[in-house]
């Protein structure tokens, strides 16, 4: 049935041709610029219009992007300023200019996560334009395949760069004309020199001294052809006396790459200064801690999803951009087509969003699995009301969602708190960074795990000085969290007060809980600081005793001493008492604050949980899918004829390609086509004798097609080593 359809399609299909490979379907697109005036809707708007979930998603994502941009600027500012400062001085410094034909150059060690560097270099260019010179050129490897291209591009960008910046200023008309007329093919170093002279020779000698330098950035050093770059450097070095050119190399691996690809006569022309940028995982931690793992972020990842994304980062690409894109994809999946996800928004807009929900949306909220445990604790009347009365349900929903936000608030504070404590501990039990701790806490009840108990045990052995430090840090974390939320406070407290009954205050998470923690911390901090004095003196005495004893020790004495020591330790010092009290109270706090998200009512709305859906799209396993389809077609076909007793076995019911695939896996590097065909035929047609079965045209055609498809898929290729043999390309 489908095959006939196929045939018809093929006949009508306009995109199959023996003489053409590219087909255009303009679909009403016109080249006129009319479309500018009457704004035509894009395809996407036609299909999705303006649904609540989409609006919320776009809004939230734009927020994220803005935050990312800010963070990006902040985190790279130090490095970029260093570079810029160097670029500023390098041509005015008389010492550096002393040697003839040496080009000052900066080398940025950027790390292997190349996709992230685009933004880094863009902000570098902006900074240079602002502070150093308008003449900047950035040349990617794809534009610099030959020296000619490289020089053309560099010169063109250097000359044109001025226009872009100074277009508003009034420049002499003839200069504009020259740069307008400039064609890329005429861009040579000579043109550049003439242009530079005409531009700056008129200026007064005082200004001549501070002439604008020309900066050429080569962001991906390793992808360039060595010889091209060598020639380029040599050319520039011959001009450097008249043109103040500075080179900036972006090197992904290490400085040695620079030395390896430049022989002595080239590298002697370069004055290299090296700048180090952050390793990418540091940047990723920053991104996570400041943007995604905060209570202000409207969208949260469940532990599993989070683990998946960090794994992709750590084991596959090290690219923060890729990581952010994966988060974006998760977010899309979370919001897609589901109106109740419009509740996954900023806390201030929550009330509004709930009010906008339709009855259907409310119904689907009632279907959420996390709603069931909530129902179980309610009494009969409320349960009925929850199902019957939409307004009441909305009220409860708002209340619960605020509770959820409170929970998230205290959850993140506790995660940070815990990571502060863990940072000081030996070993790496739960991880040291916030993201590792978060991944653990979000998947399970962290307080009931072995690792957590061990950590608390270790905490009990910490020295006073260290503990005081840690508590101070912890205090900082908590108070900064409180500061961040305080402006929001009056807004959100008003609706809550109406709904709150005072009895639940004890279980209340959120701000009150955090304030409590701060109090605790302050209290213990003071107590420990006070207690520390007596304690240190005691231990000092002890130690001096031991030192004395050690001088003439025999075994008996040692034993006695150890016995004494065990007895002595039982008398807890004041500090130790406080310390163990502190630890147990911390344990209590954590067990309250660090309940995993999936225990909360309506967590599905704010937390993205469906990892399985996104995993295949983010990672993709083309080879696995091929193998699965060939080795076990039932997985896709779901037919009842191809059930195999074991994944390795054969049957005549299998699709032809699958059969041929399985047979070819039995062969070595070379496959005899005739034998393969024989085997193929004898599986399909076991009763015939060997001579006849392969002469069946039908079977030959089927086999031919299967082989052609395997060749198309890249499992085999033709071999010239022996007649009628093919080579296997896999093991």
């Amino acid at each position: 049935m489908i095959s006939t359809n196929n045939l018809q399609d093929e006949e009508m299909d306009p995109s199959v041709s023996m003489s053409k490979g590219v087909f255009l379907f303009p679909n009403g697109f016109k080249k006129t610029h009319k479309s500018k005036k009457h704004k035509n809707k894009s395809v996407f708007d036609i299909y999705f219009g303006s649904e609540e979930w989409l609006i919320t998603f776009r809004h939230n994502w734009n927020l994220f992007e803005e935050q990312l941009k800010n963070l990006h600027e902040k985190s790279y500012s130090v490095l970029l300023h260093d570079v810029v400062n160097y670029l500023k001085i390098c041509h005015n410094d008389s010492e550096m200019n002393s040697i003839e034909g040496v080009i000052p150059s900066a080398t940025l060690l950027t790390g292997v996560n190349q996709p992230d560097h685009v933004e880094q270099f863009m902000s570098l260019i902006n900074l240079i334009r602002e502070e150093v010179t308008p003449h900047v050129a950035m040349i990617n490897s794809q534009d610099g395949s030959t020296v000619k291209h490289l020089v053309e591009n560099a010169v063109w960008q250097l000359i044109r760069g001025v226009d872009l910046v100074e277009s508003d200023e009034d420049i002499c008309d003839d200069i504009v004309d020259t740069s307008r007329k400039l064609k890329k093919s005429t861009c040579t170093m000579k043109t550049l020199r003439n242009w530079y002279r005409s531009r700056y020779s008129n200026e007064s000698p005082r200004k001549m001294r501070q002439r604008q330098s020309l900066i050429v950035i080569i962001p991906d050093f390793e992808s360039f052809n060595c010889n091209t770059l060598q020639d380029f450097v040599m050319i520039i070095s011959s001009y450097v006396s008249t043109l103040p050119i500075v080179l900036v190399f972006g090197v992904a691996t290490s400085v040695s790459a620079l030395h390896k690809s430049f022989p002595y006569q080239v590298s002697s022309k370069l004055l290299i200064k090296v700048f180090h940028s952050h390793p990418s995982h540091v940047y990723m931690n920053q991104v996570l801690e400041n943007i995604f793992l905060t209570h202000t972020s409207p969208f949260h990842l469940s532990g599993k999803a989070f683990e998946l994304l960090t794994d992709v980062f750590l084991f596959y690409d090290f690219s923060v951009t890729g990581f952010v894109q994966s988060i974006k994809y998760c977010m899309m999946e979370h919001y897609y087509g589901d109106n109740i996800k419009s509740l996954c928004c900023d806390r201030n807009k929550l009330d509004n969003a709930v009010m906008k929900l339709s009855a259907d949306d409310l119904e689907s909220i009632r279907q959420l699995t996390s709603f069931k445990p909530f129902l179980e604790v309610q009494d009969c009347l409320t349960t009925i009301a929850l199902f019957k009365d939409n307004d009441f349900f909305k009220e409860v929903l708002i209340k619960e969602l605020h509770k959820l936000h409170d929970y998230i608030y205290s959850f993140y504070v506790c995660v940070r708190l815990l990571s502060v404590f863990l940072k000081e501990l030996p070993k790496n039990i739960l991880g040291k960074t916030v993201r590792e701790v978060y991944a653990k806490c979000a998947t399970e009840h962290i307080t009931s795990t072995e690792g957590f108990k061990e950590c608390m045990q270790l905490l009990k052995f910490q020295s006073q000085a260290k503990l005081v430090d840690t508590i101070k840090n912890a205090h900082k974390v908590v108070s900064s969290a409180l500061q961040m939320s305080s402006p929001v406070k009056p807004l959100r407290l008003t609706p809550m007060k109406n709904n709150l009954n005072n009895s639940s205050l004890n279980n209340e998470l959120g701000e009150a809980f955090i304030k409590n923690i701060r109090l605790y911390l302050m209290m213990f901090l003071r107590q420990i600081e006070v207690a520390s004095n007596e304690d240190t003196t005691e231990t000092m005495n002890c130690e001096s005793d031991e030192a004395y004893d050690n001088v003439h020790g025999n075994r008996y004495k040692l034993k006695e001493k150890l016995l004494k020591a065990t007895r002595a330790e039982k008398l807890e010092s004041k500090f130790e008492m406080i310390r163990s009290r502190f630890v147990s109270s911390m344990e209590e706090i954590f067990s309250k604050g660090l309940q995993p998200p999936h225990t909360q009512t309506f967590h599905e709305i704010l937390f993205f949980t469906e990892v399985a859906n996104v995993k295949k799209q983010i990672i993709g396993s083309p080879r696995g899918a091929l193998h699965m389809a060939l080795n076990n077609p039932v997985h896709y076909l779901k037919c009842c004829c191809c059930n195999l007793p074991s994944p390795d076995s054969l049957s005549d019911k299998l699709p032809d390609v699958s059969l041929a695939y399985k047979l070819h896996r039995e062969c070595g590097k070379h496959i005899n086509l005739y034998d393969w065909l024989q085997a193929f035929a004898s599986v399909l047609n076991p009763d015939c004798d060997e001579e006849n079965r392969s002469h069946d045209v039908n079977i030959q055609v089927r086999f031919t097609r299967a082989v052609a498809e395997l060749q198309f898929l890249g499992f085999i290729k033709t071999s010239k080593r022996k007649t009628d043999h093919v080579m296997r390309l896999t093991w």
Binding site: M1, I2, G21, V22, F23, L24, N27, K31, S35, V43, F44, V112, Q114, P115, Q142, D143, D220, K304, L314, F315, D317, Y329, K427, N428, K615, K616, Q617, G620, P622, R623, G624, A625, L626, M628, A629, Y636, L637, K638, N643, P645, S646, P647, V657, C667, K669, I671, L673, Y674, D675, V683, Q700, V701, T704, V707, A708, Q711, F712, K722, T730, W731
Partner: protein
């Protein structure tokens, strides 16, 4: 030497002291390699610098190399299934496999299964919720059966391993009756152990270098000398057009269902595209139809460009020309990559149009180079260009490095259609149809028919000579002098120049090749297999 090495290995290895030292060495190396592989994994290196030197040693002992926690799930295909490294293949493997398939009906469980397989399958069944319930039931029943059979035939289960142990198969594989009723002969402990060892070796898929060299070391090809010439050559090309062959009714129904399922994803795909992700579709089967339906249903209102990556003379330039000249109405394509991209970018965003690129087989032969891919990647990275691409080749993902992948920003979709690659392979010189020579034969015929009778005679002379003499060990072709004298004898040509003129025509049509041998004589050879020539001659005589 071997004994010493074994001591350092597991207890099981101690039994196999008898083995050749070479093998033991190979076996011993493997776990070490694996450790090294883990030790140098990048995340480990990432952590180390933060530790100071004194504590580094302790640190290394404390934490084993971190392993991905969420990357590999239960529903993934096992790596060892795909990349299983089998170092020894024999002629009889294929035969055994067929015998196994023929002698056992697929529903009955063969007693030769190893427990490992059963376990694996059990876990697989749990992990795939998509399976229809009755299939599950059937499988469970099978497994119970197989378990019981496992205990019944425990003696034979390890003794008969179908795809390994060359010495065993060499002795008994030739006789099918021995295979079919695999009798539980109690074998000696030595052989059983050997089999167990081979099994474990096979499932390693971290490839040790030794294995690779082992596989490629032998110069001779250990396959039989059969050729396809044994078959009667028939014109397969006609029959191949008929699609229905070999697909059962049930399968075609299921395939149709499978394909219909993908239509439900269209809305989502469009949404994903709108957020500046691109789509890549993988999985076996032609994905053209799915893309066509997507285009027909969702993209009627916006400009699309369909690119057939499998088209053998596709160029990136033609793609760019279509976009810049045909669609955007410019006069020429700029020469520079970055210029092209910026032109397309500005013109598309000025007119606020979204351009869709539908690339069938982005891994097609003409797109398999860095330039084409980086061009397509930079196009796909544009805000107003949306790419939907398909891949089929198993090594397609190797096309892209970090930078390209980031530009493409793909989301991966498993779109297994199991439809035949009719259009895609129509260009390809398929192995078999090429071998069967139908194409060569027909082109030979066409050229031959347009020749003059004299020229035909000359050509026949060469063919006959070649057929008579091609079995000589160093056949070099018919000497030009001989051809001249023969042709003269038959009154085909009268002077040397005329023969030359005829020959140039043959050479232009590649019917004949001229070789100059060491002694300076010109030799003529027809670069077509003799079996084909014979057939051609017979056909000509019939006419």
């Amino acid at each position: 030497m071997s004994a010493h090495k074994n001591k350092s290995d597991s207890g099981q290895e101690n039994v196999t002291v008898v083995l050749t030292p070479r093998r033991v060495a190979r076996n011993r190396l493997k776990p070490k390699r694996y450790d090294e592989f883990l030790d140098t994994s990048p995340s480990k290196r990432r952590i180390q610098p933060s530790e100071n030197y004194s504590s580094e040693e302790e640190f290394v002992i404390d934490t084993p190399a971190p392993k991905p926690k969420a990357l590999f799930g239960g529903d993934d295909v096992e790596g060892q299934d795909m990349f299983k490294f089998k170092s020894r293949h024999t002629k009889l493997d294929l035969h055994n496999k067929v015998q196994e398939a023929v002698s056992n009906s697929p529903v009955l469980n063969s007693p030769m299964k190893t427990p490992r397989v059963v376990l694996q399958r059990l876990s697989k069944v749990e992990a795939t919720p998509r399976q229809v319930v009755n299939i599950m039931k059937k499988r469970i029943i099978q497994e119970i059966e197989s378990d019981s059979s496992e205990t019944d035939f425990s003696g034979s289960s390890s003794e008969y391993a179908p795809d390994d142990s060359e010495s065993d198969s060499g002795s008994n594989a030739g006789s099918p009756e021995e295979d079919s009723n695999s009798k539980p002969i109690p074998k000696t402990a030595f052989i059983r152990n050997k089999n167990v060892r081979v099994k474990t070796k096979d499932c390693e898929y971290i490839v040790a270098p030794d294995n690779y060299f082992m596989m490629n070391s032998s110069k001779t090809i250990a396959t039989s000398d059969h050729t396809l010439a044994r078959l009667k050559t028939t014109d397969l090309n006609k029959a191949i057009k008929d699609i229905d062959i070999g697909i059962s009714k049930e399968h075609s129904k299921k395939i149709a269902e499978l394909n219909k399922n993908y239509d439900t994803l269209f809305d989502k795909w469009l949404h994903i595209l709108s957020e500046n992700f691109n789509l890549i579709l993988y999985g076996i089967g032609s994905k053209r139809d799915v893309l066509h339906r997507f285009q027909a249903r969702m993209l009627q209102a916006s400009p699309c460009i369909v690119i057939n990556g499998f088209y053998p003379s596709l160029t990136v330039k033609s793609v760019l020309e279509t976009i810049i000249v045909s669609l955007l109405g410019n006069t020429h394509v700029p020469s520079d990559v970055s210029d092209i991209v910026s032109v397309i970018d500005t013109q598309l965003s000025d007119s606020a149009t979204d351009l869709f690129l539908l690339i069938h087989n982005i891994d097609g032969p003409m797109l398999r180079n860095g330039k084409a891919q980086s061009m397509l990647a930079s196009l796909s990275a544009l805000k107003n260009v949306h790419t939907i691409a398909t891949i089929d080749h198993i090594n397609a993902p190797l096309l892209w490095d970090h930078t390209k992948l980031m530009k493409y920003n793909f989301t991966w979709w498993d779109v297994t259609t199991l439809l035949p690659y009719t259009t895609e392979t129509s260009f390809e010189n398929s192995l078999m149809s090429q071998r069967s020579g139908a194409l060569q034969l027909s082109s030979l015929k066409n050229v031959y028919q347009s020749l003059t009778t004299n020229a035909k005679g000359i050509f026949n002379t060469i063919i006959e000579y070649q057929l008579e003499n091609h079995k000589q060990p160093h056949y070099q072709g018919l000497a030009y002098k001989d051809l001249y004298s023969r042709s003269r004898e038959q009154f085909l040509v009268s002077y040397d120049l005329a023969l030359r003129a005829q020959l140039t025509e043959f050479i232009d049509h590649k019917l004949v090749k001229i070789k100059r041998t060491v002694d300076g004589t010109e030799r003529l050879i027809i670069p077509i297999e003799s079996a084909l020539l014979q057939q051609f001659l017979e056909q000509q005589n019939e006419q």
